[in-house]
Symmetry: C2
Subunit: 299 residues, 2 copies
């Protein structure tokens, strides 16, 4: 059997990208961690960790991390049945990658349910779609919420429903820039707000309905879900946002919809394909919350 | 004189990290962009761009980008005086790096003022302190809000005031876990929420007042300023947050302060050191907003 002490040290170094942080987390010295990693590499006859800055995992290292995470998950199920086995904190842990729009809207109750119902500490990462897929593949997360539908090896993918994106502005912004309606000309002379320098969704919206291409319209850049809506409410930009995020602003009159166009984007839940009662419960919570908030696709 | 058409193409490739995006932004074909970069490299006799994935700049490339951004800034001032010079959109542009806590609190009105008062499109990036410093050094941003006080070559640094961090929890969380007060033992058995896997501020708070080290206390991870507060309000974690972010929750009773401890962290504004009327106005807005919201240091 694998020496799990050595495996744990190596996996935590890869997960944290740092010997120092792994040492802190495990309550060991850095030199103890280094020795354990070295010992496992010697036994395997191949390196697990590339000592670059930041640290990277070799393919063998990634595969071992994946195995370690799976074993940890199975252990957590065991602890539920045999709680005394578990010496330290009684909480299990789960790592999930999620896109920023989801975290700001329908996903908001998922961490609470995972903690309240399954006693799990929840570790979220918010990155772009490509990095989320990488994290899933590398085994640093157990599930990922993503706009991508292409399956990942060793994982299952399930539809979550659709995110609906609409255009919103402050009433004074509409009166100033869209007095004659939302037209390509009007959009060329007033600012949008992008989430990142290249906001694929905003670009798609403006291209589909107004024939505009990036560079043709001015835009601010605000990489924060909350800040994004704030900028629209302040009246310094129009924004294409997920409709739940605009709901409060629309209700209170701080925001209005200057045009009726909608873009729908299907959203997917990718998770490891393994037999695990705990993972089934996690899936149920994620799918349940999505069904409650998001329009279902094909209905 | 430098051929600014070539320089603009090269600088935009470096800024975007992509030939494709630079081409889109400038409304040119990718091959036109490549030719311009190549031509400038030939004239200089050295490479500006490392064609890796993602694209990186050589030292010469970085220096040229810095120069290009400075010239752009000076041009924007000129446009204010001679608006007809400027053919396209009449907005100027400014790129600023900011830490997440600031963007969620005192910085919130800065983009509005930069747009309303100076007609600037505002491009914000939110990264960790080290990356913000790098962006400033590379010239991809003109100013940065940071917890670091060490000056950067070619830049000035000014104190903005202090961020004050306090511990908050939902009342039911306090009753359940802190019934006998907030103690090291209590903190070992209930979850914190970290912004990232290693939340330096939370660690400092728990170490200074309770002698705890990371790994000793369980924690969720939620990398979103809004999500962070939400998790505390939902009663699944205690959180160490900037006091303005907790203000609404405390006022409404959704949050309470289970202990009176405070950590103060001075915050700094780093900006390019150059003679520019526009930059002076930007500085005034940033410093003015900070003074309005943040306790001043040494007062």
């Amino acid at each position: 059997m694998i020496d799990y002490k050595l495996l744990q040290a190596s996996a935590e170094v890869i997960r944290h990208g740092s010997f120092e942080k792994a040492a802190r987390d495990l309550g060991l010295t850095q030199s103890a961690i280094s020795q354990r990693v070295k010992l496992l590499e010697d036994r395997l006859g191949q390196p697990l960790i590339i000592r670059s800055k930041p640290i990277a995992a070799t393919d063998a290292g990634k595969r071992l991390l994946q195995h370690y995470q799976r074993v940890s998950l199975l252990e957590q199920e065991l602890y539920e049945e045999l709680p005394k086995l578990h010496s330290a904190s009684h909480f299990g842990q789960i790592a999930i990658a999620v896109n920023a729009d989801s975290l700001a809207t329908w996903f908001v109750k998922v961490p609470k349910r995972l903690f309240d119902e399954l006693d799990l500490l929840v570790h979220l990462t918010v990155d772009d779609e490509a990095l989320n897929h990488e994290a899933l593949q590398a085994g640093t997360v157990l599930g990922a919420v993503s706009l991508r539908s292409d399956p990942i090896q060793g994982c299952r993918v399930r539809p979550l429903g659709a995110m609906r994106y609409i255009m919103v502005v402050a009433p004074e912004f509409r009166d100033r820039y869209f007095a004659s309606g939302v037209t390509a000309d009007a959009l060329r002379s007033c600012p949008a707000v992008n989430f990142s320098r290249h906001d694929e969704l905003q670009n798609q919206f403006l291209n589909k309905y107004f024939g505009l291409v990036p560079g043709e319209f001015p835009a601010h850049t605000v990489p924060s879900s909350q800040g994004f809506v704030t900028v629209a409410e302040q009246g310094i930009a129009y924004a294409v946002v997920e409709e739940h995020q605009a709901a409060e602003g629309l209700r209170s009159g701080r925001l209005v919809q200057p045009c009726p166009h909608v873009i729908e984007r299907p959203l997917y839940w990718h998770h490891w394909n393994m037999q695990s009662g705990l993972l089934s419960q996690v899936n149920e919570i994620v799918l349940g919350e999505a069904r409650h908030y998001l329009p279902q696709i094909g209905n």
